[in-house]
């Protein structure tokens, strides 16, 4: 276990003067474009998928940030950029005040220990031919922190901590149910005592009763180990339950961000309003009373995003200005400083979007 950083990491580790102690990760203006190649052998770039296009975000120590958005809005790409799994096109990611953007594999290594991931599919993310003990023990082997009987003991402690029977050390993933497999994923992520765990749709594949078990486990672990979570999900009620702050993404940009209760109680971006109204609540009376805004069409292509505000082709409030000028992400009148919305015509309290623009659903 070496505590000294490799040379190039040390160079990158110049402390950011503006860094505050309670901030774990700061993402500034992050851009990730994927080139589209064409032309066979001698390929040339014909365009870019603008997966993430200028997103900023801070994750505090012990905090949970919820990341919400539809398929293709760039939330998983953003998470992978933060974890250092993808090179960043431009922008900056700092971890505990140290710039970790585009570090070399070697330089990134100490940070890999601090940032771990839990994946969506507990079936696809575990090698079916390896025993559970080996899967959970991998991080120890890779980072050479424990070997032999010491490793086995550490793994069994982890298994017990996440609610698995330590005697099942030698079983294969196929012998576990979906919820138990997700616990294996959690144990593996926890092995090196990271500071940040990125949860990419961790409960989407689970049944509701099991989903609650896993969510409770995650919150216990957060209390015990002071973890921070970046929690990606498309289920808005789950995100609301776990998150301190929420960020809503649309087509690679931030539509709205702020404290969880703020964004859910007084959403200002029409997209957030539509998203919230579309989420089915397990409550027939509120479902019947709710004004549901049915957005027309699909999310446009991130290769050729719409001009101005990227949401304008589907927005019930869109006006001329929205097609020309990109709205800035800023705090709107009456909102606290940390509740920011990127919209020219933010939704006012009590405003009925279902009738705005004459797009009545039924």
């Amino acid at each position: 276990m070496s505590e000294t950083l490799p040379r190039d990491a040390a160079a990158a580790a110049i402390r950011d003067p503006e860094f505050e102690d309670d901030v774990l990760v700061r993402v500034e203006n992050l851009v990730k474009h994927f080139p589209i190649k064409a032309g066979g052998l001698i390929s040339r770039t014909v365009g870019h998928v603008q997966a993430v296009d200028g997103v900023s975000l801070t994750i505090g120590r012990g905090q949970t940030i919820g990341l919400v958005g539809e398929t293709g809005c760039g939330k998983s790409t953003l998470a992978r950029c933060i974890a250092g799994l993808l090179p960043v096109t431009s922008g900056r990611v700092t971890f505990e005040g140290k710039n970790i953007t585009n570090l070399s594999r070697r330089a990134m290594r100490p940070y890999r220990r601090e940032i771990q991931m839990i994946f969506q599919d507990p079936y696809g993310s575990l090698n079916p031919r390896r025993r559970v003990g080996a899967i959970i023990g991998d991080p120890f082997t890779i980072h050479r922190t424990a070997t032999g009987s010491e490793r086995k003991r550490a793994v069994q402690e982890l298994m017990e901590r996440v609610g698995l029977n330590p005697e099942h050390y030698n079983r294969f993933p196929a012998e576990f149910s979906g919820g138990q497999r997700q616990r294996i994923g959690v144990a593996r992520a926890l092995a090196l005592r990271p500071k940040l765990i990125i949860c990419d749709e961790p409960v989407s594949a689970l049944d509701v009763s099991i989903q609650a078990q896993v969510l409770n486990l995650l919150s216990d672990l957060q209390d015990d180990f002071g973890l921070s979570y970046l929690f990606i999900a498309h289920d808005l009620s789950v995100v609301k339950h776990v998150s301190d702050a929420v960020m809503v993404m649309y087509l690679g940009r931030t539509a709205e961000q702020g404290p969880g209760d703020q964004v859910y109680a007084t959403p200002r971006h029409p997209y957030t309003v539509a998203l919230l109204s579309a989420a089915p609540a397990a409550d027939p009376d509120s479902a019947a009373a709710r004004q549901r805004i049915i957005l027309t069409g699909d999310v446009p292509s991130p290769i050729n995003p719409p001009s101005g505000c990227r949401f304008h082709p589907r927005c019930p409030k869109a006006q001329e200005l929205c097609t020309q000028q990109e709205p800035a992400l800023e705090s709107k009148a009456g909102d606290p400083q940390d509740h920011r919305t990127a919209c020219h015509f933010p939704v006012e309290a009590g405003e009925n979007l279902a009738t705005a623009g004459g797009r009545s659903p039924r």
């Binding site: 989903q211 009620s237 699909d298």
Partner: protein
Amino acid sequence: MTLLEVKDLAVSFPTADGVVKAVRGVSFSVDAGRTLGIVGESGSGKTVLTQTLLGLTPGGDISGQAIFDGANLLTMTEDQMRNIRGAQIAVIFQDPLTSLHPLYKVGWQIEEMIRAHDRKVSRKQATERAIDLLNKVGIPQASQRVNDYPHQFSGGMRQRAMIAMALSLSPKMIIADEPTTALDATVQAQILDLLLRMQHEFDTALIMITHDLGVVADIADEVMVMYAGRAAEKAGKHDIFYEPHHPYTKGLLESIPNSSAATERLKPISGQPPSLIRLPSGCAFHPRCTYVMDRCLDEEPQLVAVGSAGAHRSACFLPVSAIGLGGDTEELRKKAVSEERHAAAAEVAGKIAAAPESEGSVIG
């Protein structure tokens, strides 16, 4: 008007490991123009149940009756079934990508459906109908998109195409098996809205299979909650959500993170769903039930009328008046449990309480 009446349907599959009892005696009925929501976890038998109705479970041992429009679906020959499937009862599956053939144009696949059931329709007429249907389900520029391949459609559009296909022969009943599970929230809202509008327009009966209680709250009229191949509880939508009787229904409702209690701890159901080969004795839910009583261990509860209205039925030994999520009802349940739980059940309850997931929620 009752369109489909299923009586005591049971389906089991012999496998090398033993007999899988997927459905164990389920009865329900669906009226024209109404929506029945079937809710349950993975492996509760909800999909097998509906696929059996359409003769899509070869190799299964099937017993019981399913009277659709006067004829028993379970005794039909394959030829007779072909005339029902698609034309009278249409299915929308969960995954719209794998249920469309990737090598045929979307329009062609809808036309095939129309022409397979009515040979007199010409290709041209069929194409016109396909365009018309795609228009109806909200595909923009349907006359051009009809010539697209499935990969050129987005997930939501593919599901719309599936719905267009399901509607193409104006069926009397649509079985939707998790139709929105793979879709985003805004697209899900579009699809549910579309299904409801189509139902109103054509007076179609709809069976909605889902594990999402939110979807059920939105569109179902009646709800059947399934657990380990049986109906745990059946009732109108309001009774299920506000006056649940069965501890499993109650557990499902309480394990959803709901808006009002964002900071509270979730109350999961402890344990895992049982194996359908080696089912627990008595009530299949007893190894996970916080209200387990002695008789639950060896006696299987039958569906009985609970509450005040006759349509609300539940398969649980708790007092019939113990409905709802309130404190008074909880007292009633606790009282029943304290009288009926002795050594045997106390041991089970102890195990549930000791399980890491139970959060110490066992009473007694």
